[in-house]
């Protein structure tokens, strides 16, 4: 399937399951199939594995094991966190939520539903650099603010928010603070106590863990409602027979990710910077989002006069897997809400390219991408009546 020319540069969409992680999962995919909630010894072995993973996850973010709840992924964690807190706080007369304009759809669509139920939502602007401003957060706070939910790192342009500062302000104002850390976990150091984070979402497949499993950290003492009711799994807060292999995989993956984080960050930011610098040599190109406060493995570019899907497919034909806009909406025609939120006009937002790297990538990949990119851009621009117009206008100036 994959040949030597294959470059996977879409690690923000999903990552390869680490063989080391799969090894740890294998017993639970074969002989250790007991139900973790069963009393007999065979079930209790699965229970032990689940609780070990809970320890691993909590250790990775500075929480305690009892504050970790396993979910089916990042989307469920986001939905649960926001709905769960909102519904609990509504009873206390608090119905205002602050978020940002370029959150993942798992957050934004959940907020839409809450809006329809009568909640008031403030979306902070993220400006050209893709960062919220602390002053604007402060100004948005009201007595009835129940929740602030601001993502740790953006999935498309990779910008990292000032989470510690946001947490401090929330604490000061006694507002619950949730962060969607799906892109940050394993890539950025996280300490829920130092950062005053009350709830945090993560998804295993973003850091070489298995698909279909994630976790929600909920600080002890926070009142929240369940999203999935039923059996007494997860201390009665999230029903469903435990996905033991998935949970074991999550625990192992996060442990590896955190222990290799610093070294990886160094390597990936070198690849990233090389591609950003190289791509900017192409005329009418731009880098999206702050260059410094950004994920080590994230490159986000726009090329004027070029449409993203065509660009992607041309790269695909060269064996390069990348994305344009976020993966889950890349079937859609609308330009990315993230790029619009940082102030790009539609015609420029349409020409976006996201390259996201993992430890499997090399500097050679960067070279190959920088070699493949210019002729593709040239070719698409040659076909493009929009490019023609841009050049014509340029000529007139």
């Amino acid at each position: 399937m994959q040949n030597s020319n294959f470059i996977y540069a879409d690690n923000a969409a999903t990552t390869k399951l680490s063989p080391q992680v799969l090894d740890k999962m294998m017993p639970y995919l074969t002989e250790e199939y007991g139900n973790a909630s069963s009393l007999y010894d065979f079930g209790q072995q699965a229970r032990t594995a689940v609780e070990n993973a809970r320890e691993q996850v909590s250790a990775a973010i500075g929480a305690t094991a009892r504050e970790i709840y396993f979910t089916s992924g990042g989307s469920e964690a986001d939905n649960w966190a926001i709905q769960g807190v909102a519904r609990a706080m509504k009873k206390k007369g608090k119905n205002h939520i602050i978020s940002s304009a370029f959150e993942h759809h798992a957050v934004l669509h959940t907020l839409d539903s809450l809006k329809a139920e009568g909640f008031e939502i403030t979306l902070l602007p993220v400006h050209e650099n893709g960062l919220v401003r602390i002053q604007e957060l402060k100004a948005a706070i009201r007595p009835e603010t129940a929740l602030v939910t601001i993502m740790f790192a953006n999935n498309e342009i990779g910008t990292i928010q000032p989470i510690g500062e946001i947490g401090a302000i929330c604490k000061e104002n006694k507002i619950i603070f949730h962060t969607d850390a799906v892109q940050a976990v394993g890539n950025v150091a996280i300490d829920v106590n130092a950062m005053n984070i009350d709830l945090l979402s993560m998804s295993a497949h973003k850091f070489h863990g298995p698909k279909g499993v994630g976790a929600l950290y909920i600080r002890k003492g926070i009142s929240f409602r369940n999203l999935i009711d039923g059996g007494s799994q997860e201390r009665g807060r999230r029903a469903g027979t435990e996905n033991t292999p998935g949970i074991v995989g999550l625990g192992e993956a996060i442990t590896i990710a955190v222990s290799t984080m610093d070294k990886r960050a160094k390597k990936l930011s070198a690849i990233r910077d090389k591609i950003m610098d190289g791509a900017l040599k192409i005329e009418r190109s731009r880098v999206n989002g702050d260059r410094n406060s950004r994920l080590p493995g994230n490159v986000s570019l726009c090329f004027e006069g070029v449409e993203g899907e065509s660009l992607l497919l041309m790269l695909d034909l060269k064996g390069i897997c990348a994305s344009s806009g976020s993966a889950c909406t890349s079937g859609s025609l609308d330009p990315s809400h993230v790029l619009l939120a940082i102030g790009l006009i539609h015609e420029i937002a349409h020409g976006s390219l996201r390259l996201t790297f993992s430890d499997e990538n090399t500097m050679e990949d960067a070279d190959k991408i920088l070699e493949a990119l210019p002729p593709i851009i040239d070719r698409l621009r040659l076909m493009s009546p929009l490019w023609e117009k841009i050049k014509r206008k340029e000529g007139k100036k």
């Binding site: 065509s310 025609l333 015609e347 493009s384 929009l386």
Partner: protein
């Protein structure tokens, strides 16, 4: 996602480019929506002797433009007028549901080029072709979002 035919036309587009002395030029779509198709026609004795396109857009926009040029080239104006987006879709072996609008654009681009041809001949195209899409806003294309 795409059929082989779509990928074939996307990677090897036919008749890509401009006709400097075109008899009719039509442009539909707009940058905001993410697709612009521009069609150039060379017409002699009621026959489309040459047809070229330039397209800014997704793979299916490029592929539908490409195949549409092939479907009208060498044919009479009357035949070209009846080119339907359905025929374009069929010729490509199908398109994903959310990409059908590209075939509509291709049909309209040809019609816009024909309308331009008539206008240049001093003939009002409306009674012949109906109102052709100007595509100043996304909504006018009937594109679904």
């Amino acid at each position: 996602m795409y059929t082989e035919q779509v990928m074939e036309h996307f990677t090897n587009p036919r008749n890509m480019g401009e006709i400097p002395d075109a008899d009719g030029i039509g442009e539909v779509g707009n940058a905001k929506c993410g697709d612009i198709m521009k069609m150039y026609l060379k017409i002699e004795n009621g026959i489309i002797v040459d047809c070229k396109f330039k397209t800014y857009g997704c793979a299916s926009a490029i592929a539908t433009s490409s195949i549409a040029t092939e479907m009208v080239k060498g044919h009479s104006i009357e035949e070209a007028m009846t080119l339907s987006n359905k025929a374009v879709v069929e010729a490509l072996g199908g398109l994903p549901a959310h990409k059908i609008h590209c075939s509509v654009l291709a049909e309209q681009a040809i019609k816009a080029a024909l309308a331009d041809y008539y206008k240049k001949q001093g003939i009002d195209p409306e009674p012949i072709l109906g109102v052709t899409c100007e595509c100043e806003s996304c909504e006018s294309c009937g594109k679904h979002h």
